[in-house]
Structures are given as C-alpha cells and as structure tokens.
C-alpha cells in the first residue's frame, strides 16, 4: 500500500480513510432507496472529501498554524502545517451544512406530497 506509508504514515492513512469514506458514501447514494439515507450518504462523501483535504495539508510532526508563541513565530516555516486546506475545509463544511439543510427541506415537502421516502416514488418525470 504505497511506498511511503511507513515513512509518512499519518497523512497517507487519513487519505485512505477519506477515500474509503467516499466509496462507502457512494455505495449508499447509489443503493439505498430511502432518501434520508441517501442524504446521509452524501454527507459521508462530503466528510470524506474534507478528510482528504486536511490530510493533504498535513505535514508530519508540525503544529497548527497559530503563531501565538515566540518560538513559533521565529521558526514558523518549519513548524506549522499548511493553513490553506484548513481554510478550504472550513468553508466546505459550512457549505455542506447549507446543502444538507436544503435537501432535508425538500425531503420534508416531498414527504408531505407523497407520504413516502422511497426515491422510486419520485420518478414522475422521465423520458
């Protein structure tokens, strides 16, 4: 599993976890018929992507990019991890919440109309 797994275990392990979460989530998205389950699967996929992003920004053995001590400020370049992925993930999590909320609102209204959570009951438009 990768040439560098032993030397740089942390980031790679997390990366693999992220990819596995994506696969698990996709399986759920594609096979579950309950729309709430599908949405849960989507959040799993999103979390997976976020995990991957964080793992990409991680540098073994470094601390968070908060330069609140003098030591850190002096030798910041070799002591902190990349702040950019953190910023991106932060945004992505918030966006995820937004879409999830909207999706769930759709689910509620769809349930009101059809009394069902089965995705097959919502194929009114086709062909």
């Amino acid at each position: 599993m990768g040439l560098y797994l032993n030397q740089y275990p942390l980031a790679s392990i997390v990366l693999i976890t992220g990819f596995m979460m994506i696969l698990i989530g996709l399986w759920g998205m594609l096979t579950k018929t309950n729309i709430i389950k599908i949405i849960i699967s989507i959040t799993v996929v999103e979390t997976g992507v976020n995990v991957i992003l964080v793992s990409i920004g991680y540098i073994q053995g470094r601390t968070a990019p908060i330069l609140d001590t003098a030591v850190l400020q002096i030798d910041a370049l070799s002591r902190v991890v990349d702040p950019i992925p953190s910023a991106l993930v932060l945004t992505s999590i918030v966006i995820g919440l937004g879409t999830t909320a909207l999706m769930l609102s759709y689910v509620i209204k769809m349930y009101r109309v059809r009394q069902s959570l089965n995705i097959e009951d919502f194929g009114v438009l086709k062909w």
Binding site: I59, D68, D82, I84, L90, S105, K109
Partner: protein, 232 residues
C-alpha cells in the same frame, strides 16, 4: 441485484483509481509557496496569530463572503420551501410534548452560557482556533436547546431577520471600506483599521469586526433554519 452488481463493479473501478492516487501520494514535507508567504508574513501583514483566520477572513476573503452567501441562500431556500404560504391547507396540527422540568431548568442555565461561548469563539477568532462560523454554530446550538426547553415559544422572526440583514450588509460595507480607504484591489481588506498589537483582542485590523458580523449572521441564520424546520 444486477443493478447492485454493476454499482459494485463501478465502485471497484473507482477504488482502483483512488488506489492509484494513494499509491502515488507523497505526503508534503514542505509548505507550498503561497502557504510559505502566509506563514512568513501573515502575522505581520494582517496582525492575526491564527493564520487560518488570516487566510479565511482576508487572503481568501472573497471565499468567505461567498460562504456567507451560501449559508444565506440555504437559509432562504429552506424558508422558501418550508414556511407556510397564504393558500396552504394544513389538515392536522402536530402535538408537541411538554419537556420535563429538568430539561427546562438545565436549559435556563445553559443557554446563556452557550451564547457567551459562541461570542467568545468569534471574538477570539484571530487569536485562537475558531471564528465566526464556529461561534455562530455554537450560538445556533444554544437556540436549539432553547427549542427543546420551550417547544411552544416562537423566535421573533422580525428581530432575527433584521439582525441577519444588517450584519450581512455590514460585511459588504466593510468590504467596500477596504476599497474606499485603501484603494482599488483592497476589497475585504482588514487593514483599513490599525493592526494593533499582535496577540491582543483588539488587533488584526477589522478581522474581529468581520468575525463578529459573521458570527451574528451565521448564528441568526442557522437559528432561523432550525426554527423553520421545527415550525414547518
């Protein structure tokens, strides 16, 4: 069953692609060029010790503005879908159970504390982990607790909307202030206020203000979303 087989097959192929990525993945040992600049100069340039905050609020400020917009329109979308409209006919009113005394009293103590925690988080965004979004989310959790304690209470939509509206507008205004005070190309620049002393609460230019605004906006917005989902 055939359908599942094909899905499994395609996911396996996808896993193969992922495996290729993992196999070729060499974890970073150094910062990227852009990150280097942030790490080296970020604190001086913007006056924030939390570099993530520096990136979020200023360097990638446009993203954050966008993020606020995303939250804003999600809340609007939820409202559009769930709020009752003039001609809707509802057959049955739901029954809500009165919560236990314990819950009510715990909530009475906890809610103000949670709100304060939230405020703390976004006020110190430039110094410690956290910021407007996290603080806002915490505030929304407080609201949620409030709902648990008092199922029949309604939030004052008017106040919330006004607060949300004003904070959003203020964010844009601060963005424009950057342009008017510092010149073109300085949209959402926090440096139109003095950077202050590094590490203190009142430092990092406009970052605390921006985070307060964001915190308020996110807090109110998420509360409205929760309210909409509860009231539906």
């Amino acid at each position: 069953m055939i359908k599942r087989f094909f899905i499994a097959l395609s996911l396996i192929i996808l896993a193969g692609t992922f495996a290729k990525v993992v196999y070729n993945f060499v974890p970073n040992t150094e910062l990227t060029n852009v990150a280097k600049h942030y790490v080296q100069h970020g604190t001086q340039e913007l006056g924030a010790t939390n570099l993530v905050t520096a990136v979020v609020v200023t360097y990638r400020g446009l993203d954050t503005l966008g993020e606020v917009v995303v939250l804003f329109i999600s809340a609007a979308g939820v409202g559009l879908l769930l709020r009752r409209r003039k001609n809707d006919l509802v057959t049955k009113e739901e029954k809500r159970t009165e919560p236990s005394f314990l819950v009510q009293s715990v909530a009475e103590i906890l809610v103000p504390l949670i709100f304060m925690l939230g405020a703390y988080i976004f006020l110190n965004g430039h110094l410690t982990p956290g910021g407007g979004f996290q603080g806002g989310a915490v505030i929304a959790s407080g609201t949620m607790l409030l709902f648990l304690a008092a199922p029949y209470k309604h939030l004052n939509h008017g106040v919330l909307t006004a607060l949300e509206s004003i904070s959003g507008f203020a964010y844009v205004l601060i963005g424009i202030l950057g342009v008017t005070l510092l010149g073109a190309g300085h949209f959402i620049d926090n440096r139109f206020l003095p950077l202050g002393e590094l590490g203190t609460l009142l430092s990092a230019g406009a970052i605390p203000i921006i985070y307060i605004i964001i915190g308020l906006k996110v807090g109110t917005e998420l509360s409205v979303v929760l309210e909409d989902m509860r009231e539906e």
